[in-house]
Assembly symmetry: C2
Homo-oligomer: 172 residues x 2
Amino acid sequence: MKMGEGVEWAIHCATLLATLPAGAALPAKSLAEYHGVSESYLLKHLKALAAGGILESVPGPKGGYRLAREPDALTFLDIVEAVEGAAPAFRCTEIRQRGPVRADPTACRRPCAIYAIMQEAEEAWRETLKRRTVGDILRHLTETLPPRSHADTAAWIRENARMLPVIGPGSE
Amino acid sequence: MKMGEGVEWAIHCATLLATLPAGAALPAKSLAEYHGVSESYLLKHLKALAAGGILESVPGPKGGYRLAREPDALTFLDIVEAVEGAAPAFRCTEIRQRGPVRADPTACRRPCAIYAIMQEAEEAWRETLKRRTVGDILRHLTETLPPRSHADTAAWIRENARMLPVIGPGSE
DNA sequence: GGAGTGATACTCGGATATCTGGTGTCCGAGTTTTCGCGG
DNA sequence: CCGCGAAAACTCGGACACCAGATATCCGAGTATCACTCC
């Protein structure tokens, strides 16, 4: 049982996007460079996040990605399910109904007990991920990381972020 | 994130093996036939279970597999980890230390906050599987399944199980 | 008839093909910007 | 000097190769059984 690498990328990207000013966007090229990963492949996952309602995409030059919700309303489970899909990891193939001594169909009205337990475990997993948000990570980093890191990141953000063409006096 | 099909097979096999008399064994051929799955492939997983200390293998004719522990001492987590491996599904590649604005190595003494949360979720998952045993399933089936099913299974067991060459007057 | 011995049949164990899904990459559609031109 | 228009540059979006791990299978190692032979 292995989780795709894209999940890690997605969460880190969401965390970074949460630090930039409201309305601003960041292109995939910059996100990939910031995290030191392949731009082409990251784009694939960003697309999935946009399709899942996690990110919003702004097309054209000066475009990019930005969060579609408030960081506190963005749970880990949302991101994981957007990238990996919401299908359960354990799939019951109802093997109790196969073979020479298969169970009575009447008894199969109730779900398979083994499947129920596996679902219970996955539910506990999901519940934990549901309680944690990108906002939590943001606050945690603010408390633990040295101010120097924030300054560096903020400077890099200013260098790469694209403001919406509203009022913003372009820093460029 | 997808779990291998072998996990389902393994749990069902363990449940079936738990129903046969103490000391008796059941060959892979019979287990595969009972569940309607490929014998060759099931053997691969049974081997993993034996290597993991879940099952004991008896070689030679009249040989087979049997549980290595009491059903109540056999948790779902034991079986899952024996088949799928104990490695965590989410793997942190420390991308915070990559890229142009990588975090200070001093700040990386503490584990990645994102990784910590994913570990916490997986720990909740493991904890749930740790609380459930094959004995629980056995009792559940005893309570819910009609007596007819038990009779059929018991008859099939008598037909296919191999007693240890101790005292047992061969029913054959 | 009984014990010893060899062949036998059946079991598990490991090494070997095949195939799906994750990994990685590319080119095309769409939009904003920008430059040039005309008024 | 200002407005309009076409070309260009940059973005995301979907379609196309590649590779690791799961899936599926086979043949070989080992042992209890069984039959045969000899005593």
